[in-house]
Subunit: 145 residues, 2 copies
DNA sequence: CTGTTGTTTTTGAATTATTCAAAACAATGC
DNA sequence: GCATTGTTTTGAATAATTCAAAAACAACAG
């Protein structure tokens, strides 16, 4: 897909949720296209070359707006900074490395449906269930001892 | 149970994992007996009356040692500070309020076992699965709008 | 009980992700 | 184009947590 078409898509995405289309927002969305589980700083660095003058605060602002609008999902595994991703429609989960904080997607979980039903809800109105698997990534398995 | 007996239990707990027994560690463990999902500051405030002169850094140090030793579990729901709990042997999960960050336990999950098996592990060696249910607590359900 | 050793706590400061606020600026509707 | 309203910049603040050095202390041997 040519660059123009991608940008048009992203423009439509923003219009769709009633957000103004700005260069910063397009750049952040574009950066998220090719990055999975990027944090604010990674996105800031990705945006900087094509859009110098962008501030970190603007990136936080854009990510906040996109998140509120439901265009990005935000995860914050213990020990990591907040990470953002565009995959939102599927109910996928995450593997997090306890040593290096690397994050990978888990497309689905065997027998997932029951997991979304806690036994006692303590009066909570439940909106979503988040599953995080903790362990060691392939790299870090060698470093044990 | 008399106070002395509780303290003896906690002393044994520390000995059991090869940690030195200090007044601060006993105080933190004792504070955790009656509090669920307490954060460092809550524990600090709970410890202060009986053990004045204790520093917040000491509380962080104690909690770190207890966590490393496997005596306490540490959760860090997005948007909250780190919280600590003594329930570690059962595989229970959490409900977190999206508005006030209140945390409640979920004793178990219907059909829990399958949840511990992700479909693709991406080469990870998995140690544990953490399930967080997001929603609104009974209090905060009234504040919508 | 006492001295020694290694660990823990205190004291004081640093770090870092994130947020806040006011002013400059830009997108959209007319 | 122009006004309106939302967004970004600029600059500073916040707050949880960690780091480091020195003092205090628990555990153990004698």
């Amino acid at each position: 897909m040519p660059q123009k078409a991608v940008t048009d898509d992203l423009t439509g995405l923003l219009h769709g949720v009633g957000l103004r289309v700005t260069a910063q927002r397009l750049a952040v969305l574009l950066a998220l296209e090719t990055r999975r589980h990027a944090d604010a700083d990674e996105i800031f660095e990705a945006v900087r070359p094509t859009l110098p003058g962008t501030s970190v605060q603007a990136v936080y602002g854009v990510l906040g707006a996109l998140h509120t609008a439901g265009l990005v999902r935000r995860i914050e595994p213990a020990g990591s900074t907040a990470r953002y991703e565009r995959r939102i429609d599927d109910n996928h989960h995450h593997l997090v490395c306890e040593r290096c904080n690397r994050v990978e997607d888990v497309d689905c979980v065997v027998g997932a449906a029951p997991c979304l039903t806690p036994s006692n809800t303590s009066g909570f109105e439940i909106h979503s269930a988040e599953i995080t698997f903790w362990g060691l990534c392939s790299e870090c398995q060698h470093f044990r001892g």
